[in-house]
């Protein structure tokens, strides 16, 4: 077994929970690999990791890995994660969500968790569609694309998830793709080490539904599309806006020092006890 495979197996609940539910070729598996590698190289104890998810193909991820795992309700993962983190701050809480999960039904929770700057890492697998329910349009589906509920053409405009997180106040925001797996590893690690709300948007593909309807080809071809349309933050700075028209930016979008909510609330405890004065 290759070293890298051995490493992955160290974290899987393979005796209990396989085969998995994902379609062959789905990008979620690549993202899971990056997640495991980043957790391993960060040196966390399995017992201290809590992996929280919402509902969707992405939401199914925690069940396969050997951490404290919580599969919540659609869109609400961040609310549960908030309770866990505030009640037991020593835990490393990582939240995985789909695009619909995080910014449609869970959009309000997402912007507020970012605004509060709770010390959580949010990973959003953006496959531009509601995968689990059969490929309906989501708030991340670009204008003009076909889905099973926009068979003529999508007339809504998509949220740019990472940029939304920057505006909402997250301390760290990155974007990667499942094609750029090495970049994902490093974005995850950076996000884990950031005190405060960190977000990594992972551009992925749903070739069985979104890809098929829009004639985007196989999983491999969709990953080549990611390669051809991603531009690094550094390179994007040199490019004109019309050159960036059909491109998206990958890398670290923001990395800033903001006091995490937990630290701020510790002040409240001191004021309440009269230890410090407000």
């Amino acid at each position: 077994m290759a070293e890298i495979t051995k490493l992955i197996h160290k974290y899987l609940r393979h005796d209990k929970k396989f085969p998995h539910v994902w379609c062959p070729g789905c990008g979620i598996g690549i993202m899971l690999g990056a997640l495991i590698r980043a957790i391993d190289s960060s040196g966390y104890d399995k017992d201290d990791i809590v992996l929280v998810s919402g509902i969707g193909c992405t939401g199914r991820l925690p069940v396969y890995v050997d951490f404290n795992t919580l599969h919540t309700t659609h869109g609400r993962a961040l609310t549960f994660a908030t309770g866990i983190k505030l009640a037991k701050p020593r835990l490393k809480v990582i939240v995985v969500m789909g695009d619909g999960d995080a910014i449609a039904i869970g959009g309000n929770h997402f912007i507020h968790a970012a605004r509060r700057n709770i010390d959580l890492t949010s990973i959003i697998v953006n496959n531009s569609v509601y995968g689990m329910t059969g490929g309906q349009y989501s708030p991340a589906t670009p204008y003009g694309m076909k889905t099973t509920t926009s068979m003529y053409s999508n007339v809504e405009h998509d949220f740019k998830i990472a940029e939304l997180a920057v505006t909402a106040g997250a301390a760290f925001v990155g974007r990667g793709t499942v094609y750029h797996a090495k970049l994902l590893d490093s974005l995850f690690e950076k996000a884990f080490h950031k005190a405060g709300f960190s977000v990594v948007e992972v551009i992925s593909h749903c070739h069985t539904q979104y890809g098929r309807l829009n004639r985007m080809g196989s999983a491999v071809e969709m990953m080549e599309w990611q390669r051809d349309h991603a531009v690094t933050v550094e390179k994007a700075r040199q490019m004109k806006s019309d050159e960036l028209q059909d491109k998206f930016v990958i890398g670290v979008l923001v990395d800033r020092e903001l006091p995490p909510y937990e630290e701020e609330y510790e002040k409240v405890r001191k004021w309440a006890k009269g230890v410090d004065k407000k």
Binding site: D66, H71, T72, T73, F80, I84, H112, A272
Partner: protein, 380 residues
């Protein structure tokens, strides 16, 4: 031995709920402001940080209950408080807490509905929502105080039941009781019975998180203590992993019901008041039980044998208490501030030819002793 004098306080119902919660060990509260429950948030935002607890105001009630469940999963006793509109939003995560068996307490200070309804007026119209508001077959425990003192004691009970049975418990208060001020005696800590959830004693490798036990309640491990298990809102097997096997689903759902039904007796809290010789009995709860008690006294003075069964446990329904009542009384009156949510239940459990009369008041005002007395005269 000289009896120690208890601490006496003049408290509002909502304040007494806070005192009860803190005595029960509540250390986490997440909520969203709404009348007539807001005082609970306000007071806990001051008191919780003093005892190293956490208060957070979330973006809505869905988030509030989500945070409460998350906190409870780490072993921290947690609660939220709301009113009808917020309680409607909580139904989704209420079902999650039920299927995952995570203890928590939800206060619903009822107002008139539907929808925004009557923000500051009393009502008792969430009785059935508390029972069946979240989708799917499920058990639930609902307690209802009718005095400020009961706000205190029943909040402690609510935490104890939720910990003991690993089920959310709803404290259903009406606006009158939530906002009323009364003198209450706060017992010493030694006198207060506090129950904490049973935790696993086996090593993590042996832990089967949803395995049946004689009581039907599996021990619950805190997240982050070495028991790395899976918690999901999907129907799960005894290990906590999703299942679609009929032979695993059926015993799971039945256990959820059994853990409540087989411990039914422990959960029945109420009061028989002058019912032994009563020809007419009243079944009432919340603020209406206060008017009913007055009406019983008035009727007795006029020589009519009336009694009262006050329900403090609303769900599971106090069937045996009602059965005991109608062994003597052949007439039952159920006054309530809704269109007949508990009277329906009373009728359902009575198998004899006892007559059940109702008083249904939905005009935002309370049911007075005079109105109950008038009904007694009518039916006697």
């Amino acid at each position: 031995m000289k009896k120690k004098k208890r601490k006496e306080l003049l408290l509002q119902g909502n304040e007494a709920i806070v005192e009860g919660a803190l005595k029960a060990g509540c250390r986490f509260f997440a909520g969203y402001p709404i009348t007539p429950a807001t005082e609970i948030s306000e007071i806990l935002s001051v008191k919780l940080p003093k005892v190293d607890g956490t208060f957070i105001q979330m973006e809505d009630e869905i988030a509030s209950l989500g945070a409460v469940i998350g906190a409870s999963l780490t072993g921290t006793k947690s609660m939220t408080a709301t009113s009808g509109p917020g309680f409607s939003l909580m139904q989704e995560n209420l079902g999650f807490a039920i299927i995952t068996e995570i203890p928590c307490v939800i206060v619903d200070a009822m107002r008139g509905g539907p929808s925004t309804g009557l923000p500051t007026s009393p009502s008792q119209s969430d009785v059935m929502q508390a029972r069946w508001g979240t989708h799917g077959d499920h058990p639930i425990i609902v307690l209802c105080p009718s005095t400020v003192s009961e706000c205190f004691t029943l909040t402690i009970k609510a935490f104890n039941f939720s910990e003991r049975f690993r089920n959310p418990v709803i404290l259903l208060v009406d606006e009158v009781v939530a906002h009323m001020r009364e003198k209450i005696a706060i017992p010493d800590d030694e006198e207060i019975e506090v129950f904490n959830r049973v935790k696993p004693t086996v090593p993590p490798e042996w832990y089967i998180p949803y395995q049946d036990t004689p009581r039907g309640v599996p021990p619950m491990a805190d997240f982050g203590e070495g028991y790395r298990y899976h918690v999901t809102g999907l129907t799960h097997d005894i290990r906590g992993f999703p299942t679609s096997r009929p032979d695993e689903i059926d015993p799971f759902i039945r256990r959820l019901f059994r853990k409540i039904s087989q411990n039914f007796g422990e959960m029945q809290i109420g009061e028989f008041f002058m019912t032994d010789d009563a020809d007419i009995s009243i079944v009432a709860y919340g603020c209406v039980a206060r008017s009913a008690k007055r009406a019983v006294i008035d009727a007795r003075e006029r020589g009519i044998k009336v009694g009262l069964l006050k329900l403090n446990t609303i769900w599971p329904f106090m069937r045996t208490a009602v059965e005991k009542l109608v062994a003597k009384s052949k007439i039952v009156i159920v006054p309530e501030m809704n269109m007949g949510q508990i009277s329906r239940e009373v009728k359902r459990v009575i198998k004899s030819d006892v007559k059940v009369f109702t008083i249904n008041k939905v005009d935002s005002t309370i049911i007075t002793p005079e109105e109950i007395w008038a009904r007694i005269k009518e039916v006697s």
